[in-house]
Amino acid sequence: MTMLEIKGFGKSFTIHHLNKTIPAVSPMDLTVEAGEFVGIVGKSGSGKSTILKSIYRTYLPYSGEIHYHSAQLGKIDLTQATERQMLYLRKNEIGYVSQFLNVMPRTTCRQLVQNALLEMGESKESAKSEAEAALKHFEMDPELWDSYPKTFSGGEKLRLNIAMATVKKPRLLLLDEPTASLDHQSKIKVREMIEKLKSQGTTLVGIFHDIEFMEGLCDKVFDMKDGKIALPLEGVVHEG
């Protein structure tokens, strides 16, 4: 099944005070099958984040189509979806993780994960136990569960970010350079997390500046340079 089919998608930004339009992504096509892990590579400023943010509607659609196969809403063009439909999909089907943690101040790590579940309508009891399970799963030190993430290290913030996104069991997870500020050890953990998500059937689209690190996991690589799927990069793309 095709999970995501991007057709002729392009995006520009108009900055009024500079009286200027910045082209960010020229029209491109990309197809992502259910259960695949597709990497996006390209140099800084080439428009990688713009694609992910446009799928998630953090950026407004500009041109082209983004067809998503929703469990609940059926096939839907995300560039035409209503705000309420996008919010439904964000809550129930599509997750987004970057290296930045954007959360309510003065809310503990544990509460943040629980709130993600409560907002989906889970009961207090199951939110509590699932949140704990997720924090354990992503190896968050229990000492940190009841503290505020403001002071967390980059790796801890990232694990919290991934925990908040994945407790909702998204079908499609968008990863925008989640490993950008991490040391080697933490990156290995992220790789393991992605491996687990993939084995659970999650479809992933991810930006990694060191995509080699995802060797054996990544099914396809989309290269921004020429706007298409790169030939299986030596060692990068998973055979079979």
Partner: protein, 279 residues
């Protein structure tokens, strides 16, 4: 997914002043911001339309004077609007423009369907009543008669908003701004309204008090599923609370969208200025 909005607002208009030959016709009107330079009439709210969905927090941002409070006061029937339609999706009000109802019916809506937290606590609280008395008054207006029940519910609400019960007999004028806002919130919640209007509830509070009021609003949304319109000129507050937002300027809506989209990919020149000045 065919959802009905709980509140539909269409083409609200409010002006202060009579208008003149230069400004009454919207086609030829040339205002300075929201103000007619010939006759001094202020077009405070102009052609405002939006939907509020069950259980959502809708953010309203805009600079001082953009018409946010006037819009809320119009919705809450504190001031009379010049034109517009408002529909509430409640069985007994189905397809009636509530702006045209009798004052008795409007009172019913204020007592049972709407809750309001004013920008200025003086507008929302009787400063000479005790805090618990303020809540009790609202409950009595909404038909509660059993003194025991009123007292028990008022206490529970004050506890929910973290006002120590030993201070419940005190007049809110003795309280800090943050406490006054929390008493207003308790009062507004006392009749379990499905729709709550919050006007700058965190403005002027110090940061830690702000955080606790924000927390409280989030908790109300999560646990009571009340639909809320949260007005603030502070984009950070809107970002924390609202999934969708509208941006007002000179009485009109210039932009609406998912809150993170408005912050990261603002379309209107004014919104861009507002957002870039944050960075």
């Amino acid at each position: 997914m065919r959802e009905q909005p709980i509140l539909q607002v269409k083409n609200l208009q409010k002006k202060f002043g009579e208008g003149c030959q230069h400004c009454l016709d919207p086609e030829i009107r040339q205002l300075e911001k929201n103000f007619c330079p010939y006759c001094g009439t202020i077009y405070a709210v102009h052609d405002v339309s939006f939907d509020l969905y069950p259980g959502e927090v809708l953010g309203v941002v805009g600079e001082s004077g953009s018409g946010k409070s006037t819009m809320l006061q119009g919705l809450y029937f504190d001031i009379e609007l010049a034109a517009g339609e408002v529909y509430i999706n409640e069985p007994m009000l189905a397809s009636q423009n509530v702006l045209t109802l009798s004052s008795q019916q409007k009172r019913y809506i204020r007592n049972y369907i709407y809750g309001m937290v004013y920008q200025n606590p003086l507008d929302g609280l009787k400063m000479k009543f005790s805090s618990i008395g303020n809540i009790a008054e609202k409950m009595i207006a909404a038909g509660s008669r059993n003194v025991g029940n009123i007292e028990a519910r008022s206490k529970a609400l004050l506890e929910d908003v973290h006002i120590p019960l030993r201070r419940m007999k005190e007049e809110p004028r003795n309280f800090s701004g943050g406490m006054q806002q929390r008493v207003q919130i308790a009062k507004a919640l006392s009749n379990n309204p499905p729709i709550l209007f919050l006007d700058e509830v965190t403005t002027g509070l110090d940061l830690s008090v702000q955080a606790s009021v924000l927390d409280l609003i989030k908790q109300i949304q999560r646990e009571l599923h009340i639909s809320m319109i949260v007005v603030s000129h502070d984009l950070a507050v809107i970002r924390m609370l609202a999934d969708r937002s509208i941006v007002m300027l000179n009485g009109t809506i210039i932009e609406n969208g998912l809150t993170d989209q408005i912050l990261e990919d603002p379309q209107h020149e004014y919104t861009q200025q507002l957002v870039y000045s944050l960075l």
